[in-house]
C-alpha cells in the first residue's frame, strides 16, 4: 500500500520539478512548485500512516501554512513584475545577473 502512495508522490514531485525547469510562465512555474510541495505532503502523510504517529501529518500542516504564505508573497511579486514589465515570463526577469 505504502509503495503506491510513495510512487504517486514521486511522480507528482517529478512532474512538478520538470514543470519548474521547463515552463516559462511564472504562474505555471509557481503552480509546479505547489505541486512539488504537495507531493512532499503526500509522502509525509503516507509515512505518518505507516508508522502510526502524527508527526508526518503535523509537518504536512506546517508545509501547507508555509505554502500559503509563499503564495501570498510570490503572487504579489509576480503581479508587480507583470505590471512593470508587461510580461509574466521568468526568462524576461533576468536583470539580476553577472
Amino acid at each position: 500500500m505504502t509503495t503506491h502512495y510513495l510512487v504517486l508522490s514521486a511522480l507528482l514531485f517529478a512532474i512538478g520539478g520538470a514543470g519548474v525547469l521547463v515552463r516559462r510562465n511564472a504562474i505555471v512555474v509557481f503552480m509546479c512548485v505547489e505541486l512539488m510541495l504537495n507531493a512532499c505532503n503526500l509522502a509525509f502523510v503516507t509515512f505518518a500512516r505507516q508508522h502510526g504517529n502524527l508527526d508526518g501529518q503535523l509537518i504536512a500542516f506546517f508545509v501547507m501554512v508555509v505554502a500559503a504564505a509563499e503564495v501570498v508573497i510570490g503572487l504579489a511579486i509576480i503581479v508587480m513584475i507583470f505590471r512593470t514589465r508587461r510580461s509574466a515570463s521568468v526568462d524576461d526577469a533576468n536583470l539580476l545577473k553577472y
Binding site: G17, V20, L21, V22, V29, V90, D91, A93, N94, L95, L96, K97, Y98
Partner: protein, 640 residues
C-alpha cells in the same frame, strides 16, 4: 698635573635657578611659535628680552661661581628624573660650562639685537626669532647638562635649530638643499656620539660627567673593567660626533653650504657657538682622551688637517660668507688641535673659541651689514672701495680681521699663539703645520679686506651702499671691543687656565706667555708674507669683476678640495644605486607577487561569475542537481 675637582650638589642662589637660562629662551620660542601671527608686532622684542634675561642669569651665576673657593666651583643641580636608572636631568655649572653660557647668551643677545635690524624687512621675522630662541635654549642645554644623555638632547636640539635656520628662506631651493645637507651630514656625527654614549654606559654604568673622572677611567683600565681599546674607541666615536657638529674633516662639507641661511644665523650658529660644540665635547670628555693617547693624536691630526683645508678653501672663495665659513672651519681646526693636546691645550682651545666667537661673529655681522648695503650681493668681486661709505662696519671688520690673523696684542694673537706654541712643544710637525695655516689665514683674510673695503669700486649699477642703522652697528662695536681686549685678558697671567682648572684640570707648571718666541715670530713673519702677497694680488693690482679661470689648484680650492665630489662618489652614487635596486626589486619582485596573486583571483572570479545567468530555470536546475548530490551522498553514507 692638577685634576678636575669633585662636583658639589648646590642649592639656593641664582645657580639654583640656573635652569631659567634654558627655560626662558625655550618659553620665548614656544610663545612665538604657538602664538602665530598675533605675536608678529612684538615677537622680536620678546626674543631679544628672553636672550638678554638668560644672559643676566649667566652673568650672576658666573659671579656666584667666582665667589666660591676653587675646590667647590663645580656645582651640580638636580632637576628631575629623566630616564629612570640611566640619567637624571641635571645641570652642571662649572667654569667650563659657565664660560660657554656667557659666550652663547652674550654673543647670542648681541646677534638677536642685530637681527632686529637685519631682518626688519622680512615678513617672517617672528619665526626667525622663535628659532633663534630655540637655538639658544638647546645650545645652553648642551653645555649645561651634567650627563651625556641630556647633552645629546641639546646636541640634537641645536641640530634642529640649525636645520630650521639654514633653510629659513626655504623658497630658495639652494637653502632647502643646504639645510638638508647639514642635517644629514650631522646625522653621521650624531651616530658616532650615540654609539659613544652607549659604550660609556655599558662600560662604566653611568653617563653622568661626575661619575666619569680621569681617576675612574684609569681605575677601570687598571682593574680590567675597561680595555685600552674600549677607551680609544669611545674617544674616536666622540671625535666623530665632534667632527659632524664642528665641520671637521671628513664631515666638513655642510658648513660652506650652510651660509645659505640669513647672515645672523651664520654668525651665531655657524661661527660663534654651535660649531664649537665639538670642541666642548672633546674638552668635556677629557677623561677619556687623556687615557687614550691614540684618540688624542687623531684629534690633533683632524684639527691640523681641517685648519689647513679650511684656510685653503678660504683663499679661493669670492663669496664673502663662504670665505668666512672656510675661515671658521680653519679656526675650529686650531681649537681641535688645542683640545687634542690635553689640559695645557684645553684652556687655549676654549680661550680661542671664546675670542673667535667674538671676532668671527663680528666679521660675519659686518659681512651682513655689507650685504645689507649692497642689495644682498655676496660676491666680493662686486664690492671694493666700501671703506669710505660704511666706516663703522669697515673699522669693526678690520679689527676682527686683525684679531683673526694674530696682529700683536689683539685677541687672536694671544689665543692662537698659545695653541701653536703648545702644539710645537708637543709635536714639531703639527706645530709647523699650524704656523703655515696661520700664514694662509693672513693671506685670505687680507684678500677679503682688500677686495671688500679698498681698491676700485666694482659695484653693480643699482647699488647705493650706505651705513647700516645703529641697531646693527652697536653690536658690531661691542663685538670688536671684545675682539681687541679679550685675548690679552684671558691669556696673560694664565687667568683663563686658572679659572678653568677646577673643571678640566691644569698642568703642574703653568705655561708662561712669551712675547718673543720662535713659533710666534715665525707665525708673524708668515702672516706678514701672506698679507703682503694679498696686497700685491688684490690691493695694488686690479681685481677682475669676473673670476679668472685660475690654475688647477685654484679650481681645487674653489670646489672645496673636491669634498663634495668625494662624498658623491663614495656615498651618494652607491646609495642611489642601492635605492634603484630596491625600487626594482619592490616593483618587479614583491609587487609582482602580490599583484599576480590578486590578478589570478580576479580572473578566476571573472570566469566564475558567468554562472549567474539571471535565468530562474538554470538556478532551479543547479538546486535540483545539488539536492540530487546531497541525497546521493546520504544514501551512500547510509549504506556504508
Amino acid at each position: 698635573m692638577q685634576s678636575p675637582v669633585e662636583i658639589v650638589q648646590h642649592s639656593g642662589g641664582v645657580i639654583g635657578v640656573s635652569w631659567l637660562m634654558i627655560a626662558l629662551p625655550l618659553l620665548g620660542a614656544a610663545i612665538l611659535l604657538l602664538g602665530g601671527r598675533r605675536t608678529d608686532r612684538w615677537g622680536h622684542f620678546l626674543g631679544v628680552a628672553m636672550s638678554l634675561a638668560a644672559f643676566v642669569v649667566a652673568v650672576v651665576s658666573f659671579v656666584e661661581i667666582l665667589g666660591l673657593p676653587e675646590s667647590e666651583r663645580r656645582r651640580g643641580i638636580e632637576l628631575y628624573q629623566f630616564i629612570p636608572g640611566i640619567a637624571d636631568m641635571g645641570l652642571l655649572i662649572d667654569p667650563l660650562s659657565i664660560s660657554f653660557a656667557l659666550l652663547i647668551t652674550g654673543v647670542g643677545s648681541l646677534i638677536h639685537i642685530y637681527s632686529v635690524g637685519y631682518m626688519s624687512h622680512d615678513p617672517d621675522r617672528r619665526r626667525f626669532f622663535a628659532y633663534l630662541n630655540l637655538f639658544v635654549a638647546a645650545m645652553l642645554l648642551l653645555v649645561l647638562a651634567d650627563n651625556y644623555v641630556a647633552l645629546f638632547v641639546g646636541w640634537e636640539g641645536v641640530g634642529l635649530a640649525s636645520y630650521l635656520l639654514i633653510g629659513f628662506w626655504q623658497f630658495k631651493p639652494t637653502a632647502a638643499a643646504a639645510a638638508k645637507k647639514a642635517f644629514i651630514v650631522n646625522r653621521v656625527g650624531d651616530f658616532g656620539l650615540l654609539i659613544a654614549i652607549f659604550t660609556v654606559w655599558t662600560t662604566f654604568g653611568s653617563v653622568a660627567f661626575g661619575d666619569l673622572s680621569g681617576a675612574t677611567v684609569s681605575e677601570a683600565i687598571g682593574s680590567g673593567g675597561a680595555s685600552q681599546g674600549t677607551i680609544t674607541a669611545i674617544g674616536l666615536l666622540l671625535l666623530l660626533g665632534a667632527c659632524g657638529k664642528s665641520a671637521q674633516l671628513p664631515l666638513q662639507s655642510w658648513l660652506l653650504d650652510a651660509m645659505e641661511g640669513p647672515t645672523p644665523v651664520s654668525a651665531l650658529i655657524h661661527a660663534a657657538t654651535m660649531v664649537t660644540a665639538g670642541v666642548y665635547l672633546v674638552v668635556r670628555s677629557g677623561a677619556f682622551f687623556e687615557a687614550a693617547p691614540t684618540a688624542q693624536l687623531v684629534v690633533t691630526i683632524v684639527g691640523v688637517a681641517t685648519l689647513l683645508a679650511g684656510a685653503i678653501i678660504g683663499c679661493a672663495k669670492d663669496d664673502i660668507k663662504k670665505g668666512l665659513a672656510g675661515s671658521t672651519m680653519s679656526q675650529i681646526g686650531y681649537m681641535m688641535l688645542g683640545a687634542g693636546l690635553g689640559p695645557v691645550g684645553y684652556a687655549f682651545a676654549i680661550a680661542h673659541l671664546i675670542t673667535h666667537g667674538f671676532f668671527k661673529a663680528n666679521m660675519f655681522l659686518g659681512a651682513g651689514s655689507v650685504m645689507h648695503a649692497m642689495n644682498d650681493e655676496v660676491d666680493m668681486r662686486r664690492y671694493g672701495g666700501l671703506f669710505s661709505v660704511m666706516k663703522v662696519t669697515a673699522v669693526t671688520f678690520i679689527i676682527g680681521y686683525l684679531a683673526i690673523i694674530g696682529f700683536p696684542l689683539l685677541s687672536g694673537y694671544f689665543t692662537k699663539d698659545g695653541i701653536i706654541e703648545t702644539a710645537m712643544e708637543h709635536n714639531q710637525i703639527l706645530g709647523w703645520l699650524a704656523v703655515v695655516g696661520a700664514g694662509i689665514t693672513g693671506f685670505y683674510m687680507s684678500r677679503m679686506i682688500f677686495m671688500t673695503f679698498f681698491g676700485k669700486k666694482r659695484w653693480a649699477d643699482d647699488a647705493h651702499p650706505h651705513e647700516s642703522p645703529s641697531v646693527m652697528t652697536v653690536p658690531l662695536v661691542i663685538l670688536s671691543i671684545g675682539s681687541i681686549f679679550l685675548g690679552a685678558f684671558l691669556i696673560l697671567d694664565n687667568r683663563f687656565m686658572k679659572f678653568l682648572a677646577p673643571a678640566v684640570g691644569a698642568p703642574e707648571e703653568l705655561p708662561a706667555f712669551h712675547f718673543v718666541s720662535t713659533a710666534g715670530l715665525a707665525t708673524l713673519a708668515l702672516v706678514a708674507v701672506g698679507a703682503a702677497f694679498a696686497w700685491f694680488r688684490y690691493g695694488a693690482a686690479e681685481v677682475p669683476r669676473v673670476a679668472p679661470r685660475g690654475s688647477f689648484l685654484t679650481t681645487f680650492a674653489r670646489r672645496d678640495l673636491y669634498g663634495d665630489a668625494l662624498n658623491e662618489t663614495l656615498f651618494m652614487r652607491p646609495g642611489q644605486w642601492l635605492a634603484r635596486i630596491a625600487v626594482f626589486v619592490d616593483n618587479r619582485g614583491i609587487d609582482g607577487l602580490v599583484n599576480g596573486l590578486a590578478a589570478t583571483i580576479g580572473g578566476t572570479s571573472g570566469r566564475l561569475r558567468r554562472v549567474q545567468t539571471g535565468y530562474v530555470r538554470s538556478y532551479a536546475l543547479s538546486i535540483l542537481f545539488g539536492a540530487a548530490v546531497v541525497v546521493g551522498a546520504l544514501l551512500y553514507v547510509g549504506n556504508m
